[in-house]
C-alpha cells in the first residue's frame, strides 16, 4: 500500500502539536486531527488502517464485542460480531451515561465491567487509531506527535453535574491509559489486561489534583457541531437555529453569535467572541428511525437502507415519513424553550437556519424544515444558511476534503482547542427577559414648575 505521507528522517525529531477531535458516536465514531504547528490552519480526517490496509471510510464502528474472553473494537468487532458466542455491546456511551435505564442489559456485561469501562476502552482504542495516524503524519516533518484530545457529549448531559462527571472521567481515564508505556494494541485484549489498564488509569486520575479546564476534555456535541458555522467567514453575527440530524439523535438549538468591538473607536476590530444558546433540545430520533420505518415496509435491513432513504421512500406510504415530523418537533421545542427567555417577536425575526448532520442531506426533511414557521403567523420561515466547506479540513492525504462534511462537523469542532472555542452561554445561564409595560409617571410639581 502506498504511504500517505513522505517520511523524512533528518537529525533529531521535533515535537508536533496535534489535537484530536474525538466524536464518540452512538453507532459510529469520527476522528479529526488538527495540526497546531502547521503554517496554515489544517486538520485531517483520520481514516484508520486495519491490518495494514487503509479503510475506505472514516466512520469507525463504536461497537464493542466480547468473544472468546477478549474484547474487540471497531472494524474487528464488527467482523467478529456474527461469530457464535460473540456478545455485542452497542451504544455503550448512552448506556454509560444512563446506567439505570439499561439495568437489564447490564447483566450480559463481563464480570466487574460497567458500560463506563467499555466506553473508556472505546475511547482508548480510538486514541490508539489516531496515534498511529498521527505518527505517520508527523514523520513527514521529521517530528513526533504531541497529542491532546477533546471528546464530545450531548449538550443536555453537560448541564447535569453527575453526567458531566461521568463524561469527564471517561475522557481522562482513557487519556491516562493511553499514556501507559508499552500499552499494547487493544484489539483482542483479554478482559484481565483491560481491567488492569482501567485500574491504573482510574488510580492516576484520582491522584491528580489538577486536570485543567473540563472543556479541554469534554465539550458539548451541539456546540462542537456549530463551531464551523461560528468560525466560517461566511457567517456573521446574528441569530441562528441549527438542527443536527444524526443517525440516532437530533439536536436542535437556537443561538446567537455575538460580536464585540475591540480597540479604540475607528482603529479597532469587530470580533465574533461568544455563542449564546437560548434553547437546546436533544432527542433520540434520527435518520435510523426513518430507516427502520422503511425496513418495516420492505424486506431491507437498516444497514442496507442507510444513505438510500431518499430513493427508497419514493413508493412507500407517507407514514414512513412520520419520524420527520418528530425531528421537526425538536426544532419547534428548541424554539419554545428559547421563547421562554424572550417573548418579543422582534427578538426572533430574520434568523438563519443551519441544517447539519447526515440527515440534512435528506431533501424531504430539508424542505420540511426550511418551510416551517416555528411561530406561525408571526415569523416567516428562516433564511437557509450554509457556512460552506471548511477550508482547513483536509482528507487523510492532506489534500482538500471535497466530500460532504456534514458527518464530520462534531469531530471538526472538537479538534479546535482552547482559544478557538468561543465562550458559550447555555440556556440555563440566560435570564428571561421581563417585558414591563411602560408606565407614564408625571412628577406634577416639576412638570408645572418647568412650565
Amino acid at each position: 500500500m502506498a504511504r500517505l505521507f513522505k517520511e523524512k528522517r533528518k537529525g533529531q525529531l521535533k515535537e508536533r502539536h496535534l489535537h484530536l477531535g474525538l466524536d464518540f458516536g452512538t453507532c459510529y465514531s469520527k476522528l479529526v486531527l488538527r495540526d497546531y504547528d502547521a503554517r496554515e490552519d489544517k486538520c485531517l480526517v483520520i481514516v484508520p488502517e486495519v491490518a495494514g490496509q487503509r479503510k475506505s471510510n472514516y466512520l469507525i464502528p463504536s461497537l464493542v464485542v466480547l468473544w472468546d474472553g477478549c474484547l474487540h473494537f471497531g472494524f474487528q468487532a464488527q467482523e467478529i460480531a456474527s461469530r457464535s458466542g460473540a456478545i455485542e455491546f452497542c451504544s455503550v456511551k448512552i448506556r454509560a451515561a444512563y446506567p439505570d435505564s439499561f439495568k437489564e442489559e447490564a447483566e450480559k456485561l463481563p464480570k466487574n465491567f460497567t458500560y463506563e469501562d467499555l466506553s473508556i476502552l472505546v475511547i482508548l482504542y480510538l486514541l490508539q487509531v489516531s496515534d498511529h495516524f498521527a505518527k505517520a503524519y508527523a514523520m513527514q516533518f521529521n517530528a513526533t506527535p504531541k497529542l491532546t484530545m477533546t471528546t464530545g457529549a450531548p449538550m443536555g448531559a453537560l448541564n447535569q453535574s453527575r453526567l458531566q462527571g461521568i463524561f469527564l472521567r471517561m475522557a481522562r481515564s482513557a487519556y491516562e491509559a493511553f499514556g501507559i508505556k508499552g500499552l499494547p494494541q487493544l484489539q483482542g485484549i483479554k478482559l484481565e489486561q483491560a481491567s488492569e489498564f482501567l485500574k491504573f488509569a482510574r488510580d492516576s486520575i484520582t491522584k491528580q489534583s489538577a486536570f485543567g479546564d473540563p472543556r479541554d476534555w469534554v465539550r458539548s456535541e451541539a456546540e462542537a457541531a456549530l463551531l464551523w458555522a461560528y468560525r466560517s467567514p461566511k457567517v456573521g453575527p446574528g441569530l441562528y437555529a441549527c438542527v443536527d440530524i444524526g443517525a440516532g439523535s437530533t439536536d436542535s438549538t437556537f443561538f446567537k453569535i455575538v460580536n464585540s468591538y475591540e480597540g479604540k473607536p475607528g482603529n479597532g476590530v469587530w470580533l465574533k467572541d461568544r455563542m449564546a444558546f437560548f434553547g437546546a433540545v436533544s432527542e433520540h430520533i434520527g435518520m435510523d428511525d426513518i430507516g427502520h420505518a422503511i425496513c418495516r415496509h420492505t424486506s431491507s435491513t437498516i444497514t442496507s437502507v442507510r444513505g438510500k432513504e431518499e430513493h427508497m421512500v419514493k413508493n412507500l406510504p407517507n407514514e414512513v415519513l412520520n419520524p420527520c415530523n418528530k425531528i421537526c418537533e425538536t426544532y419547534q421545542k428548541a424554539f419554545s424553550r428559547g421563547y421562554e427567555l424572550d417573548k418579543r417577536v422582534s427578538a426572533w425575526k430574520n434568523y438563519g437556519l443551519f441544517l447539519i448532520g447526515g440527515g440534512s442531506n435528506f431533501s424531504r426533511l430539508r424542505s420540511q424544515l426550511h418551510n416551517m414557521s416555528v411561530w406561525p403567523g408571526q415569523l416567516s420561515p428562516p433564511k437557509p444558511c450554509d457556512p460552506g466547506q471548511p477550508k482547513d479540513l483536509k482528507g487523510p492525504d492532506g489534500k482538500d476534503f471535497i466530500d460532504d462534511p456534514s458527518f464530520l462537523l462534531v469531530a471538526y469542532g472538537l479538534s479546535h482547542y482552547r482559544a478557538e472555542v468561543p465562550l458559550v452561554t447555555n440556556p440555563s445561564d440566560i435570564q428571561p427577559l421581563k417585558i414591563e409595560r411602560p408606565t407614564l409617571s408625571i412628577d406634577h410639581e416639576n412638570f408645572y414648575s418647568k412650565k
Binding site: 515535537e15 502539536h17 497546531y36 504547528d37 502547521a38 503554517r39 496554515e40 490552519d41 504531541k146 497529542l147 491532546t148 484530545m149 487519556y175 491516562e176 499514556g179 492516576s204 491528580q208 489534583s209 489538577a210 486536570f211 485543567g212 479546564d213 479541554d216 476534555w217 468560525r231 466560517s232 467567514p233 461566511k234 457567517v235 456573521g236 453575527p237 446574528g238 460580536n259 475591540e262 473607536p265 475607528g266 482603529n267 476590530v269 469587530w270 470580533l271 465574533k272 467572541d273 479546535h416 482547542y417 482552547r418 482559544a419 478557538e420
Partner: protein, 1045 residues
C-alpha cells in the same frame, strides 16, 4: 503521568508576537494557558479578527525591526498567499503612474489605448487637449476617464459638455452608466436663467451640464458668457470639427467658453476635413498663444516634421537611433525649433541616441517620451488610429433581401404614394410644411409595414381624429432621433380634410386583407435561416437586432414573433432609460431571447456588441441613422469576426431606387464612413421627395443618385487624404501607448483576479459574515458586506463622496458587483470594483497602518519550468519611488540563480516576477537555510541593488534636470500667460465699469492664476523637484520546478 508544575509564563497579554513557522502571522496575545494534557503553555492570540490557539513554542515577540533576511536565514518565511497579498497592496499603495487609479474604472471594456489621452492631459500644463481618434475608438470614454481623474484629484464644481443636440441624451446616459457621473441636460432657457443670475451678481451654483451647440451658439448666450466669464473647471466639446470655421456662431461661442474654462477638451475624428486650416482653428481655440496665426501654423507643422520622423525611427521592434538622431539635428536648422536644441535637454537626448547602438524597448520608449517634448503639437493633440490598436475589427457583411409586393400590397402602396404626391407634394392644395411632413410620414409608414400602417390609419379614423393629424402623428410615431425636434407651425394641427377623406376611401377599398404580409414572411424566413445555421454549426444562437423607424411597426412585429414563439424584447424611446437597461440586460444575458426590436432612440447610447446581426426592417432617409444603427453592434468589444447587415427592401419602390441604390453606392453597409456631412442627409431626403412626387424619370433618378454618391465619395476621399498627410506632421503618440501597455504587460498594475483576492482576504478576515463569491471575479454576482464595514468606512477621515456612497450602499443590504469590465457591460447597474474603488481604497488605508508588521521574506515555488532553469533562486523585489517632472514608481526585480550565482537579465527577471505573481506556491519544505548560502547571496543582491539605484539616480537626475529646464520654461510660460490674460480681463472689466460681481469674479480668477504661478515657482528649484526613494519590498528564496531535490 506525573504532575508537572507549570514553568513561568513566557508571553503576557498584550504582547505583540508572530509565529515562528509563519512570520507573516502577527498578532496580540490575549492570554496564556497551561495544558494539563501535555504539560505545555498554549497562547490565545488574536490575528486580525480571529482568535487562534498557538503553542507557545511556536511564538516569538515581534522584533522592533523586522529583518526579512535574518528571518530567512533562520528558516522563517511567509507563504504564497502572503506574497500575493503584499504585492497587490504595494502596487495599490504606490501605483506606477499618477493615472493608474483610473485603469479599469469605467464600465467599459478595458482598452489601454483609451488612457493615452488621460496621460497626455495630465502631463500637459495648459489643461487643453484635442482628442482626434478615429471613429469608434471610444472618445466619450476617453473624455470620461479625464473627467473622472480630475474629479478624483479635486472635486470639480462646474463641468460643461457641449454636444450636438441629438447626442445630449447619449452623453448623459453614457456618463451615468459608465462612470456614475450624473449630468443634467439643459436647454437654452436654463442657460438664460444662469446668465440672469450672473447679471444679478449672484454666485453661480455648482453644475454638471450637457448642452447642445444649438443652444450655446445664440449670440445673447455667448455674449453673456464672454461678459461674465464664469469660472468652469472643465469644458468638453464633442464633434469639435463643428468649430473649425471661425466665421460661425459655434466657433464664437466656443471662444467665449474657452475664456471661462480651466481645462478644455475637444473631441473629433476629423480635425482635418478640407485642409490644415481646420486643425489650426481648433488649436487656436485651445491655445491661442502657441497657435497664434494661420500664416505661421504651416511653418510650425513643417518644423515639427523632424520630430515626427525621429519618433517613427524609434517605433517598432527595430529602433533606428541613428536615423532618429539625424532627424533631430535638423531641428537646429529651423528658426522655429532652434531654441529647443540649445538646452541640455536636447543634448542629453542626442547623447543617449549616440550611446544606444542597440536600444532596449524600455529605453526606446523613454527616448520617445522625451523626444515628444520637443514636438510643437504633441502636448495638445492625442491621436489614435484604428489600424494601430484594433487589428481584428469585424468585417461587415451586407445582404439586401429584395422582395416583390403581392398585388393587394402593391395597390395599397401605390395608392398611398399617389395620395401623398397629389395632395401633399405637388397637388393643388398648398399644404404647410407640417402637413407635408405628415404625408411623407404616412408614406414612410406604409413602406415600413403595410399591416401596421393600415391598422394605425383605421384606428385614427375610428377615433374620429383625422388620419393625418400631423402634430399627433409626429408625437406618437416618431422618435426624435437624428436632429432637433422638427419645428411644427401652427397650421399643422389642422386636419387635412381632403387627404383624410381620400385615405378613408383607400382603406375601405383597397387595403390588403389581414394575413397578407410579404415583408414579414421574408423576415421570418431570414431569422429561421440564421438560427438554423447557428444550430447546424453548433455555435451559440446569434442575437439579432431588428430596427424600425416606427413604433407601430415594432409593436406589430412583436406580436407576429410571439405567434411564432420567438423570444424577443422591444425597446423604444417611450420606455424609461432604466427600464430599457433592464430589458437590454435580459436580452444580452438570457440565451433564450434571440431578438431585440428597437427604434433608433430605444437603443441610443446602448452597447449591443454582444449581438452581431442587424436587420433594417425599413431604411432610414438619413445615412447617419443607418450608420448609428450598425454602430450599435459594430463597435469595440464585438467578438464576432463578421457583422451581418440585412436590409428588407420591396422591389420597385423609392426605398429600392433611391435609398438602397445610394447607400450601396457609398458602401455604407460595408464600412464605417466616419463623420458624415449633414448635407448628405438633406440630399437624400430631397431626392426621396422628388422621387415620391414623380418629378424624375428613372434615368434622372439614377443620375441624381450617382451624383450624390460621387460627391460624397469624393469628399470622403479628400478628407482621408488630408488626414493621412497630417499624420506625418502631428502624430507622435506611440510612446504613450507603449508606456501604458508595458505597465500591464509587466503587471505593474494588479489584474482583477489579484484585486479580488486582495479584497476578499481583507474583508473576510476583518468582517466575517461578508460574502464575496469567487464568481464576481469574472461575472456579476451578489456581494454581502457586514454593516460594521460601512460604519468603519464612514469613520475614515476622508471627504471622498464615493466612499460615503459605497458605505451607504452596504447598509442597504447585498448588492451586485463584479471585478470584470466585460461582465459589467451586460449589467451596467452593478458596482464595478477597480483599483480606485472605495472598498479597495479603504482596505489599503487600513493595511497602511500595519505596513511595518508585514513580513517580507518568502519561500516560494513555481512549478512551470518551460522557460527557466530548474533550481533555487534568491530574489529581491525593489521599489523606486521617483519624484520630479514625471513622477512614478518603478518595481525592479532581481534574481540570482544559486547553482552558478549568475544574475538573471532584466527581461527574464521581469518575466519570472510575473510568474511568481500568477501562480506561486508555498515551499513548506524549506526549513534549513544553511544549504543556500543566503548570507553571501544577500550581499551580492544588495550590491546589485545599489548599482541599479546609482544608475537610476544618475540617469534620472540628469534627465530630470534637462526635462525640468524644458518643462519649467513651458509651464512657466503657460502659467504666466494665464495670469496675464486674467489681468487683462480684469483691467478690461474695470475700464468698462462692469458689474461689481463680474469684477469680483475676475479678481478671484486673477488671484487664483497668480497663486498657481507662485506655487509652481516656489516648488521648482534650478534642478526641478526631484527625489528618489528606494526599498526592498519582498525578498526570498524561489524554487523553480516542483520536483528538484
Amino acid at each position: 503521568m506525573d504532575e508537572t508544575a507549570p514553568p513561568n509564563i513566557i508571553f503576557k497579554p498584550g504582547d505583540i508576537v508572530r509565529r515562528k513557522r509563519a512570520p507573516e502571522s502577527v498578532g496580540v496575545v490575549k492570554e496564556s494557558t497551561w495544558s494539563d494534557q501535555i504539560k505545555e503553555w498554549y497562547c490565545a492570540v488574536r490575528f486580525g479578527t480571529s482568535l487562534k490557539t498557538v503553542p507557545a513554542t511556536d511564538l516569538e515577540l515581534l522584533p522592533e525591526h523586522v529583518d526579512p533576511w535574518a528571518d530567512l536565514i533562520q528558516g522563517s518565511f511567509a507563504g504564497a498567499e502572503a506574497f500575493q497579498m503584499l504585492m497587490t497592496f504595494e502596487r495599490l499603495h504606490k501605483p506606477p503612474t499618477r493615472i493608474s487609479g483610473s485603469f479599469g474604472s469605467a464600465k467599459a471594456e478595458f482598452l489601454p489605448f483609451q488612457f493615452k489621452p488621460l496621460l497626455k492631459f495630465i502631463e500637459n500644463p495648459t489643461g487643453r487637449l484635442l482628442i482626434a481618434d478615429d471613429v469608434g475608438l471610444g472618445k466619450t470614454i476617453e473624455a470620461g476617464y479625464i473627467l473622472q481623474e480630475l474629479q478624483a484629484r479635486h472635486p470639480l464644481e462646474r463641468v460643461l459638455i457641449v454636444v450636438p443636440a441629438r447626442l445630449r441624451r447619449k452623453w448623459r446616459d453614457e456618463l451615468e452608466r459608465r462612470f456614475e457621473q450624473k449630468f443634467d441636460v439643459i436647454n437654452i432657457k436654463m442657460l438664460q436663467s444662469f446668465l440672469r443670475k450672473l447679471d444679478s451678481a449672484r454666485e453661480p451654483d455648482s453644475f454638471s451640464w450637457i448642452v447642445s451647440y444649438e443652444s450655446v451658439r445664440k449670440e445673447p448666450i455667448f455674449d453673456g458668457l464672454d461678459r461674465h466669464r464664469p469660472s468652469i473647471d472643465l469644458i468638453i466639446f464633442d464633434e469639435a470639427h463643428r468649430l473649425r470655421n471661425p466665421e460661425t456662431y459655434q466657433h464664437r461661442a466656443a471662444r467665449a467658453l474657452a475664456g471661462c474654462a480651466d481645462s478644455m477638451i475637444f473631441l473629433t475624428a476629423t480635425p482635418i476635413q478640407t485642409g490644415m486650416d481646420n486643425l489650426f482653428h481648433l488649436l487656436n481655440l485651445l491655445d491661442p498663444d502657441a497657435f497664434a496665426n494661420l500664416s505661421t501654423f504651416g511653418a510650425q507643422l513643417e518644423a515639427n516634421r523632424p520630430v515626427i520622423k525621429a519618433l517613427s525611427a524609434l517605433r517598432g521592434t527595430n529602433p533606428e537611433p541613428d536615423l532618429a538622431k539625424s532627424s533631430l539635428i535638423r531641428l537646429q536648422e529651423n528658426p522655429l525649433t532652434k531654441s529647443l536644441t540649445e538646452g541640455s535637454f536636447f543634448s542629453s537626448i542626442i547623447q543617449r541616441l549616440d550611446m544606444s547602438s542597440s536600444l532596449s524597448r524600455e529605453e526606446a520608449v523613454r527616448l520617445q517620451r522625451d523626444i515628444t517634448e520637443l514636438s510643437l503639437t504633441a502636448h495638445i493633440i492625442s491621436r489614435t488610429r484604428k489600424s494601430e490598436v484594433l487589428l481584428n475589427y469585424p468585417q461587415r457583411k451586407p445582404n439586401s433581401l429584395k422582395f416583390i409586393f403581392s398585388a393587394p400590397e402593391r395597390r395599397f402602396y401605390d395608392a398611398v404614394a399617389d395620395l401623398c404626391r397629389l395632395t401633399g407634394l405637388t397637388g393643388r392644395e398648398r399644404n404647410t410644411w407640417g402637413q407635408q411632413m405628415a404625408l411623407i410620414m404616412a408614406f414612410r409608414m406604409t413602406s415600413s409595414c403595410i399591416p401596421a400602417a393600415v391598422n394605425y390609419f383605421r384606428e385614427r379614423s375610428q377615433q374620429g381624429e383625422g388620419i393625418l393629424y400631423s402634430a399627433l402623428l409626429q408625437k406618437e410615431d416618431l422618435d426624435d432621433n437624428i436632429s432637433e425636434p422638427m419645428a411644427i407651425d401652427d397650421n399643422a394641427s389642422t386636419p387635412l380634410t381632403p387627404a383624410t377623406n381620400r385615405f378613408e376611401k383607400i382603406l375601405n377599398d383597397i387595403a390588403p386583407p389581414p394575413g397578407i404580409d410579404t415583408k414579414y414572411d421574408i423576415l421570418y424566413k431570414a431569422l429561421r435561416e440564421i438560427f438554423e445555421e447557428d444550430n447546424r454549426d453548433g455555435r451559440p444562437i446569434r442575437k439579432v437586432i431588428i430596427f424600425s423607424f416606427f413604433k407601430r411597426t415594432l409593436t406589430y412585429l412583436s406580436s407576429r414573433l410571439a405567434e411564432k414563439r420567438i423570444d424577443h424584447r422591444l425597446i423604444t424611446g417611450d420606455i424609461a432609460i432604466l427600464e430599457r437597461e433592464e430589458i437590454i440586460d435580459e436580452f444580452l444575458s438570457n440565451q433564450k431571447i434571440k431578438v431585440l426590436l428597437s427604434s433608433e432612440v430605444g437603443s441610443e447610447g446602448l452597447d449591443l456588441q454582444m449581438s452581431s446581426v442587424v436587420i433594417n426592417y425599413d431604411l432610414p432617409w438619413n445615412p447617419m441613422v443607418v450608420e448609428q444603427r450598425i454602430g450599435r453592434v459594430d463597435r469595440i468589444g464585438q467578438r464576432s469576426p463578421v457583422v451581418i447587415i440585412v436590409n428588407l427592401i420591396a422591389s420597385d419602390t423609392i426605398e429600392e431606387r433611391i435609398l438602397l441604390r445610394l447607400y450601396e453606392r457609398i458602401r455604407i453597409f460595408e464600412q464605417a464612413l466616419g463623420e458624415i456631412d449633414p448635407i448628405l442627409g438633406e440630399t437624400v431626403e430631397e431626392l426621396a421627395k422628388e422621387a415620391l412626387s414623380c418629378q424624375l424619370t428613372p434615368e434622372e433618378e439614377e443620375k441624381k443618385v450617382e451624383q450624390a454618391a460621387k460627391a460624397f465619395i469624393n469628399q470622403a476621399e479628400e478628407a482621408r487624404k488630408v488626414s493621412s498627410e497630417s499624420d506625418t506632421l502631428i502624430a507622435a503618440d506611440q510612446a504613450f501607448l507603449d508606456e501604458i501597455e508595458s505597465l500591464f504587460g509587466h503587471r505593474r498594475v494588479p489584474i482583477p483576479e489579484e484585486l479580488y483576492k486582495f479584497l476578499r482576504s481583507f474583508i473576510m478576515s476583518r468582517y466575517p459574515g461578508s460574502i464575496i463569491p469567487e464568481s464576481v471575479m469574472n461575472e456579476v454576482g451578489e456581494i454581502h458586506l457586514q454593516p460594521q464595514l460601512s460604519n468603519d468606512m464612514q469613520n475614515l477621515p476622508t471627504m471622498d463622496i464615493d466612499i460615503q456612497r459605497v458605505a451607504h450602499k452596504i447598509l442597504k443590504g447585498p448588492f451586485l458587483a463584479t471585478f470584470s469590465n466585460m461582465a459589467i457591460l451586460q449589467h451596467p447597474k452593478a458596482e464595478l470594483i477597480f483599483m480606485r474603488h472605495p472598498l479597495l481604497l479603504f482596505s489599503v488605508k487600513c493595511m497602511e497602518k500595519e505596513a511595518d508588521r508585514i513580513h517580507r521574506g518568502f519561500s516560494l515555488i513555481i512549478e512551470d519550468t518551460q522557460r527557466f532553469d530548474k533550481g533555487y533562486y534568491i530574489f529581491s523585489i525593489n521599489q523606486f519611488e521617483i519624484g520630479g517632472f514625471r513622477p512614478r514608481t518603478e518595481l525592479v526585480p532581481l534574481f540570482i540563480r544559486l547553482k552558478d550565482k549568475q544574475m538573471l537579465d532584466p527581461e527574464n527577471s521581469e518575466d519570472l516576477m510575473v510568474l511568481m505573481l500568477e501562480k506561486p506556491l508555498t515551499n513548506e519544505e524549506f526549513q534549513n537555510s544553511s544549504e543556500f548560502d543566503i548570507q553571501n547571496t544577500k550581499q551580492r543582491l544588495q550590491e546589485i541593488f545599489q548599482g541599479v539605484l546609482k544608475n537610476l539616480k544618475d540617469r534620472e537626475i540628469g534627465l530630470n534636470k534637462a526635462r525640468a529646464e524644458r518643462r519649467r520654461a513651458t509651464i512657466e510660460a503657460t502659467l504666466r500667460g494665464k495670469v496675464e490674460a486674467a489681468r487683462r480681463r480684469l483691467d478690461d472689466l474695470k475700464q468698462k465699469q462692469a458689474q461689481p460681481f463680474a469684477i469680483k469674479m475676475s479678481q478671484d480668477r486673477y488671484a487664483a492664476e497668480q497663486r498657481r504661478l507662485d506655487v509652481f515657482l516656489s516648488e521648482t528649484g534650478e534642478d526641478g523637484i526631484f527625489s528618489i526613494e528606494s526599498r526592498e519590498i519582498a525578498i526570498g528564496i524561489l524554487k523553480v520546478g516542483g520536483d528538484i531535490q
